[in-house]
């Protein structure tokens, strides 16, 4: 990762050979960022220009634009060079709007929560549910004010949350 001399820069483990190329950056929390590498250092801190997050839910995906991003190195798992000759994703995958992918994400988080709710103990369950609801609130507040479609998805999500709350009434959340 150290700055190698110009002659062996392409044989070193430096990210220099990836500069100005379109890359996929996998993060430790599972997020997938795409963008052009403009700078890096020995910790794998990286600057991505034109960054976007690729959200994948099942066979649906969406690239959500983020802009210029500085990524802290310790959160980097892998930096991959995208082969421009090849398809970025398998042909059966369908691109959808940001609003739709957020809705799908929400639905799949609900269904995985349902799974867990059946299996965890009651007290921890209550806490988990409350905190996940509040983090959902957070996400709903911070995302998707950009388009009407997104606002619609937000309404859908709120409806869903309402129905979740109804279904969880037995938990006596208040």
């Amino acid at each position: 990762m150290s700055w190698a001399g110009p002659e062996d820069i392409f044989l070193s483990t430096s990210l220099a050979s990836y500069l100005d190329k379109k890359l996929l950056v996998l993060l430790r929390d599972g997020r997938k960022l795409l963008g052009i590498l403009r700078s890096f250092d020995q910790f794998a801190n990286a600057v991505l220009e034109g960054a976007c997050e690729r959200v994948i839910v099942g066979d649906l995906y969406c690239d959500i634009p983020l802009g210029l991003y500085v990524i802290r190195g310790e959160n980097v798992v892998l930096i991959g060079e995208l082969d421009l000759e090849r398809e970025e994703l398998p042909p059966h995958m369908v691109r959808v709007s940001a609003a739709e992918i957020k809705r799908e994400e929400f639905l799949s988080s609900i269904s995985s929560m349902n799974m867990r709710i059946c299996t965890t103990s009651f007290t921890s369950l209550k806490e988990e549910f409350l905190s996940s609801i509040s983090s959902m609130n957070m996400r709903i507040c911070t995302t998707s004010f950009t388009s009407l479609k997104a606002q619609k998805a937000e309404r859908d999500a709120t409806d869903l949350k309402g129905s979740m709350r109804k279904r969880m009434e037995f938990l006596d959340l208040d």
Partner: protein, 93 residues
Amino acid sequence: MLFFSYFKDLVGREVTVELKNDLAIRGTLHSVDQYLNIKLENTKVVDQDKYPHMLSVRNCFIRGSVVRYVQLPPDGVDVELLHDATRREARGG
């Protein structure tokens, strides 16, 4: 530095790097550095269906800290190689 030297001797060989997030990638070892960051070429994800976003990645840089295992070629643990590595280390290289 022992394993840094060791991996340097494996450059050009096929290895499978298994990460702490369970992603396993097979590829040719292109280079390694003192943090055991690894660069692979001609990579192929072992469970491709589970990681569709990796489809067009041919070359990659893996941060050393996220590695769980590296599966080595069966003849990769060459006594002579390890000896050479140990000797270099003894010389302070």
